[in-house]
């Protein structure tokens, strides 16, 4: 089919000649290329953020011991210099991690995963590639802004990476960048451009501008460029979820921009937005006027960062509502209730931010208010998850790789969501705050939750990107270690967290014997399993650190098949038989594969709802949105009877 696209492109190249490589793949205004740019950049950042996490896990499990392979890396030319500049210069002389490096890794892991990994891949990547196809239009409403959006994002990524190389190294104050700590650490640095914090803030300002442009584009496109017949309630849920996500980005990011600008002003101009009167460091009064408040920063930050959590999870739901009905061969259950839930969720997500701040002493009334809204918001989330589960009911499920990831998402997200409920209450949060319990909860939502959904999306739309399938065996080799690794990492966190392990211990709790010194059935089990393999694992809470690090290692190994699969399948995967290999119903499958410039070879018209699977009386078990009657029009635009001899190639 790709040949057809090319011919078609040439035939229609009346007013412009074939663009060169740069125009086509680098400075491209085509939504599909931009989507791929975003997606690939996001995947790279995910990998990098994951690597930072591996270093941290080493230090937690084996504090004070030299990081393996450092000596080897220090002997490789070129890599050696890069490694030295980014990490090596902070290591202890014997090659072990210290607290400062651990803090840098922690802060950058959070920042990169959230702002440079998942949002670009999950939101920007998928929405750019899939959404215009699903609503049957030729491109986004503002293609040039779309290109600008990617390049703003690219600049912000470069700036963020550059912060590894400046004098102080990257920030050490967590991805939340709380003032006054963030503003006053290493205050001795008079040249602010040698400070990682300055670069973090500058990078965030670019990142926010990028997501602003992207979200304006997405919303305007969905409002104004839907195909003929595609009413709001005929729109695939994918587009609804992305629509809401774009609104979250549009309206929640500006307060973070404010927070970043004010903090930048504190750092660069010496103002005191977030610095209270009488602040001291190292026994000395700082040279500041005071009069500000750290609480202001937290309010502005969490006003973004709570909706941001939904920005992370809604693209996952968006993808699953395409993957699950398609592979269960069943309509999406409760489409309308899902739409209303996601709208409610979007609105409520702006009203719950301060449940991250119970410990700040912001006041009883505020706490009460935020407890109520926080409990309320779990209702629409549960509706979304339940609808997806019921969609499986009575389906004839195809367990291909994307469906494995999608079905693993459901219980994993369930665990993440349910463990969040106790944290909604301020009295429980007093004990749990900043422990590993919170880390476990959050990571269950985004790591085996969102990231699994993103993998499902990659496997699902890969044939549309490239015209070839990804290998299913390698896919399964990717899925099972990932599932095992994720659970080995995050499940013990709940136990450790309830035991009181603080999230920022670079030694994993070794020096806190009152907390780490006692046993639990899980530690005894670990001890015995270790003994079976001839390993001396202590029978106390510290043993769980080793379990988690082993889990991280398994997870790392599990990604190798994916990377191989991804790159080799582009040229060497099994060819997709036709333009709609999964037998899906939404309009992106009505385009040639891969879609050429302008996407559709005919004017798509939506004749019915997006999830018409297993319609009784229909010759095949799916009835696509764009078909006025069975098999017409075909994706190449022809519906003349003479050309429909293989109209029944769909399975």
């Amino acid at each position: 089919m790709s040949a057809t696209t090319l011919d078609h492109d040439h035939a229609h190249a009346h007013d412009h000649h074939e663009p060169g490589f740069l125009r086509k793949y680098v400075w491209s205004t085509d939504h599909k290329v931009i989507g791929l740019q975003y997606g690939l950049t996001g995947l790279l950042f995910l990998l990098f953020g994951f690597f930072l996490m591996l270093l941290m896990r080493w230090s937690i499990a084996y504090p004070g011991e030299p990081v393996p392979a450092v000596e080897a890396i220090r002997n490789i030319p070129l890599i050696k210099d890069l490694f030295e500049a980014m990490f090596g210069r902070w290591l202890n002389p014997d090659g072990s991690l210290n607290g400062e490096l651990y803090n840098m890794l922690g802060a950058m892991h959070g920042t990169i995963m959230v702002f440079f990994g998942i949002v670009p891949l999950g939101f920007a990547g998928f929405v750019n590639f899939v959404m215009p196809l699903q609503i049957g239009t030729i491109d986004m409403a503002f293609p040039k802004l779309n290109m600008l959006s990617y390049w703003f994002f690219f600049v912000s990524g470069v700036l963020m990476m550059y912060s590894f190389f400046v004098g102080t190294g990257p920030v050490q104050t967590g991805w939340t960048m709380y003032s006054p700590l963030a503003t006053t650490t290493t205050l001795g640095v008079t040249n602010v451009w040698q400070h990682g914090h300055t670069w973090w803030l500058t990078a965030m300002v670019f990142n926010i501008s990028a997501s602003l442009l992207g979200s304006v584009n997405v919303i305007a496109t969905i409002i104004n460029l839907r195909a003929k017949g595609l009413g709001w309630m005929k729109m695939p849920f994918f587009c609804w979820a992305m629509f809401v996500t774009a609104f979250l980005l549009l309206l929640a990011f500006p307060p973070l921009e404010v927070a970043a600008i004010l903090q930048l002003s504190d750092r660069v101009f010496g103002s005191s937005f977030y610095l209270p009167t009488g602040l001291m460091e190292g026994g000395k009064h700082l040279d500041i006027s005071g009069g500000g408040s750290p609480l202001l920063y937290q309010h502005l930050f969490w006003f973004l960062a709570h909706p941001e959590v939904y920005v992370l999870i809604l693209p996952a739901f968006a993808i699953l509502t395409d993957v699950i009905p398609c592979n269960a061969r069943r309509p999406l259950w409760g489409y309308k209730s899902m739409v209303y839930s996601v709208l409610t969720l979007g609105f409520l997500s702006f009203l719950v931010w301060a449940h991250h701040m119970y410990l700040t002493g912001m006041g009883t009334m505020m706490s009460t208010y935020f407890q109520i809204t926080t409990v309320l918001i779990s209702v629409p989330s549960v509706i979304l998850l339940t609808c997806l589960m019921i969609s499986l009911w009575g389906g004839s499920i195809r367990f291909n790789t994307q469906m494995l990831f999608a079905s693993a998402f459901l219980p994993m997200f369930g665990i993440g969501g349910l463990t969040g409920l106790p944290l909604a209450f301020s009295f429980i949060d007093l004990a749990m705050h900043d422990t590993y319990y919170v880390i476990g909860h959050f990571h269950y939502v985004v790591a085996p939750g969102t990231i699994f959904a993103l993998f499902a999306g990659v496997y699902h739309w890969f044939p549309k990107f490239t015209g070839r399938y990804m290998n299913d065996k390698l896919g399964k080799l990717h899925f099972w270690p990932s599932l095992l690794g994720m659970n080995l990492i995050f499940a013990p966190m709940f136990i450790q967290g309830m035991a009181g392990f603080h999230r920022r211990w670079y030694d994993g709790g070794k020096y806190f014997e009152n907390t780490s010194g006692f046993t639990h059935w899980s530690t005894t089990l670990t001890h015995k399993v270790g003994a079976f393999f001839g390993l001396d694992i202590p029978d106390n809470m510290l043993s769980l650190n080793i379990v988690m690090s082993v889990g991280a290692f398994i997870l790392a190994l599990g990604q190798i098949p994916f990377i191989i699969n991804f790159w080799f399948s582009i040229k060497g995967g099994k060819k997709a038989e036709n333009d709609n290999p999964w037998g899906a119903t939404t309009m992106e499958w009505a385009t040639p594969t891969p879609p050429g410039h302008g996407n559709f070879l005919f004017e798509p018209v939506a004749h019915r709802g997006p999830y018409e699977y297993s319609v009784p009386g229909h010759p095949v078990d799916f009835f696509p949105q764009w078909e006025s009657e069975h098999g017409k029009p075909k994706p190449d635009g022809s519906d003349a009877p003479a050309k429909t001899e293989h109209a029944a190639t769909h399975h």
């Binding site: 609104f247 309206l251 009203l351 002493g361 505020m366």
Partner: protein
């Protein structure tokens, strides 16, 4: 906004009148700020009411919000609600009626 030529011709006069009104109200704002009301809080309240009135003139007439399409109204209502939430919650986190003293008062 209408594409009707006659209506646009009529509205030109309206724009000039609104511009003049805005200037008049600016003078009033400045004058009001020097009037010593019983508390300074009242000064702020009155000043903000005048400013809101001026702002709504700009939004309704200059920005044509007096006759716009429903999609835009929906977006803006949502945004304004959120801004209001932001103001109110920021206010209450400093002025909690259940806990009167702020946490960073120097006086104590």
């Amino acid at each position: 906004m209408s594409d009707n030529i006659e209506e646009i011709q009529k509205s030109i006069k309206k724009y000039l009148i609104i511009g003049a009104l805005l200037i008049v109200f600016t003078v009033i704002t400045v004058w009001l700020s020097y009037v010593e009301l019983p508390t300074h809080g009242l000064n702020i309240l009155v000043g903000m009411i005048v400013a809101t009135f001026k702002a709504s003139l700009v939004a309704l007439i200059f920005m044509h919000l007096n006759h716009e399409k429903s999609v835009i109204y929906k977006t803006l209502v949502f945004t304004v609600v959120l801004v209001f939430v932001l103001f109110v919650l920021f206010y209450f986190s400093k002025m909690d009626p259940l806990v009167f003293d702020g946490f960073y008062k120097l006086s104590e």
